[in-house]
């Protein structure tokens, strides 16, 4: 088991290297000159040239890359040209927001998705099963931005129960923090709940049809023990992997949802950075996101091992 973790950690290095090269080169394919954006329309060529020099934009691309990656290796992700702040600091500011949103969305997704999947598998072919499937399909196919706007209209505009936008840190005021994040968390969570439900359902159908479930019934166990202890335990493994991957996606920032609810998370940071050609920020955020995603994969594998004793020895 430990060799497996070690091997995965080693694999992380070349993957991240490739990712860094990709981010760096793709981003420079974007039209637009960051120095011009920064200097503003009225700037003289001298000023623009000065900015170029300061951010090494006058050097050839490979040199720029080496320069950047050298900093990254020492923990320096560079400086935002627009905000004049270190990228690391910006990320640390936004990360807790995105983390909070991701955890809440994931909790909603699991709390809805897993029981719904189990129930629809147990009641396969019945009206309950069909109803759950319709809801799951609706959850998957409803665009996030639309659901977000509808929720704002209902809960903020019409009922006035929740704020329409903005963000309060839970360290400042837990209640208000929940109030500002619950709607975006629902938007993100319900979409994932649908996916999780579908996977849980098919894994459960397989488990319920298995020999060990028949054995459990032959022992005279109650149906709920058969379902929740014997079948769910085996059916949940593929869902663990899926959940971890979805969580990784959430961490990379829900661009649209954060925009709609004006949540100052990763998504908003990266959108602003792309529009302003703020290279260092885009590179930093994407790199961190990629690393998180790979780490989530590793965690998924660990969860898989924990749930499946066959992999433990």
């Amino acid at each position: 088991m430990f060799t497996l973790i070690g091997r995965r950690l080693v694999q992380l290095v070349p993957t991240l290297f490739l990712v860094s090269v990709l981010i760096f080169s793709l981003q420079h394919l974007l039209p637009g000159d960051p120095a011009l954006v920064m200097a503003g329309e009225e700037a003289t060529p001298e000023v623009v040239e000065q900015i170029r020099k300061r951010y090494n934009l006058d050097k050839p691309l490979p040199v720029q890359y080496v320069h950047w990656i050298g900093g990254v290796l020492q923990g320096d992700l560079g400086e935002s040209m627009r905000l004049r702040l270190p990228v690391g600091q910006l990320i640390l500011q936004k990360l807790p927001v995105t983390l909070q949103l991701a955890f809440m969305a994931m909790a909603i997704a699991l709390l809805i998705g897993i029981p719904a999947g189990v129930i629809s598998a147990v009641k396969r072919g019945t009206a309950t099963d069909h109803a759950v499937n319709v809801f799951a399909l609706a959850g998957i196919s409803t665009p996030n931005f639309w659901l977000g706007i509808m929720l704002i209209l209902l809960f903020a505009v019409k009922l006035g129960w929740l704020p329409a936008s903005g963000y309060v840190s839970p360290f400042v005021d837990v209640q208000r923090s929940l109030a500002t994040t619950i709607l975006p968390a629902i938007v993100l969570g319900t979409a994932i709940a649908g996916v999780i439900m579908r996977h849980m359902r098919s894994a459960m159908l397989q488990a319920l049809d298995s020999d060990y479930v028949r054995t459990a019934r032959a022992k005279g166990l109650h149906e709920r023990t058969v379902v929740w202890k014997h079948a769910v335990r085996n059916a949940i493994t593929p869902v663990i992997t899926l959940g971890a991957l979805e969580f990784g996606t959430l961490l990379s920032g829900a661009v649209l949802t954060e925009q709609i609810f004006s949540i100052p998370g990763f998504g908003k940071l990266i959108v602003d950075a792309v529009f302003n050609r703020d290279y260092a920020v885009v590179q930093g955020v994407v790199l961190i996101t990629a690393a998180t995603y790979i780490l989530m994969n590793l965690l998924a594998d660990l969860g898989y091992i924990l749930a499946n004793p066959r992999l433990r020895t």
Binding site: D211, R217, A218, G220, H230, R233, N234
Partner: protein, 328 residues
């Protein structure tokens, strides 16, 4: 052959599955069986003959929506009239079942010990500690070495033979009166098979339980059974004491089966086969179901033969019984 003191007495059991395409398959069609404590009844037949379905009907493990009629008398009650709740109380306690494939029949996510203790905790009012002690005792009883260590192991850590022993330990944990073993040795190596059969024989002596052994292997029947019921296309075609059956089979299908049994004392040559195949049960054929494959068929076979008594209380579903003069 319904004896007094039968533990299980099945009368005119009919099982029909309604397929999603609207077709109905009559998997079991009028089966009568009985077993007495301390005896082993073998049910023999090829796949699709209805032998597993019969046993699952007894256990109440057939899927919902299956049409079951007749009577399954067990300890004086008709199991077909009992509530699901009452059947659950009986399962694993008064009657237990072991299955063909011990690897897939054990839950890979739980230890052997947990899966055995679970049955004990379900049916006996004991604590975890006592259940554990009982489970370890059962593992010892089925001759699993180092039972304390095995208790904590997962199914994948055991060999096939050990897994089947663990399954048997689980089934017998609450001292059931009836044990149904569905092809318990089919998935095992020949040497392991012999050990498991020996174990079952010994446990029957100790527990006085009635055993129903379902198999397609006549060699296994000869080893452990007292009586045999041969099934073909959802019906019993012959019932006899085991020695009688092997000495003088009274149904052409049994004759065919015995002919298909490889023997060391027989001449070298091709394995005998029964030509043709089992009729399509969704169409419920009329007349004797074996007649299309039967070398002895006569005109009367267009009419379904009943189970006809022949010598020694044996029964055979054949118009031409007794068969001795035809076979010899």
């Amino acid at each position: 052959m319904a004896e007094d003191g039968a533990l299980l007495e099945i009368t005119d059991l009919q099982v029909a599955f309604h397929g999603p395409d609207g077709r109905t398959t009559h998997a079991v069609d009028g089966v009568d069986l009985s077993v007495t404590p301390g005896r082993t009844l073998g049910i023999v037949g090829e796949s699709g003959s209805g032998k597993s379905v019969t046993s699952l009907a007894v256990m109440g493990l057939l899927p919902k929506g299956t049409e079951i009629t007749g009577r399954i008398g067990f300890e004086g009650r008709d199991l077909l009239k009992e509530s699901a709740r009452r059947l659950r109380d009986l399962r694993g306690d008064r009657m237990a079942m072991i299955f063909q494939e011990p690897m897939t029949s054990l839950n890979p996510a739980y230890t052997i010990g947990d899966q055995i203790s679970e049955a004990i905790l379900r049916h006996r009012s004991v604590g975890r500690r006592e259940a554990r002690a009982r489970a370890i005792e059962m593992l010892r009883k089925v001759r699993i070495p180092e039972p304390e260590a095995r208790f904590q192991e997962y199914p994948h850590q055991l060999s096939g033979g050990m897994r089947q022993r663990a399954m048997i330990a689980m089934a017998l944990a609450c001292d059931p009166q009836l044990l149904i073993a569905d092809e318990p040795t089919t998935a095992l190596d020949v040497t392991i098979q012999a050990q498991i059969l020996e174990l079952m024989r010994r446990l029957r002596e100790e527990t006085r339980a009635a055993i129903i052994l379902i198999t397609h292997d006549l060699g296994v029947v000869a080893e452990v059974c007292d009586e045999v019921a041969v099934m073909y296309a959802g019906q019993i075609v012959e019932r006899a004491a085991v020695q009688d059956l092997f000495a003088f089979p009274q149904h052409p299908y049994t004759v065919g089966l015995l002919g298909a049994l490889p023997r060391f004392d027989a001449e070298q040559g091709e394995l005998a086969v029964i030509s043709g195949s089992v009729p399509d049960m969704s169409r419920r054929p009329t007349g004797c179901r074996f007649r299309s494959r039967c070398p002895f068929r006569i005109e009367r076979c267009e009419e379904m033969p009943p189970l006809i008594p022949v010598e020694n209380g044996r029964l055979t579903r054949c118009w031409r019984a007794p068969l001795q003069r035809l076979v010899a």
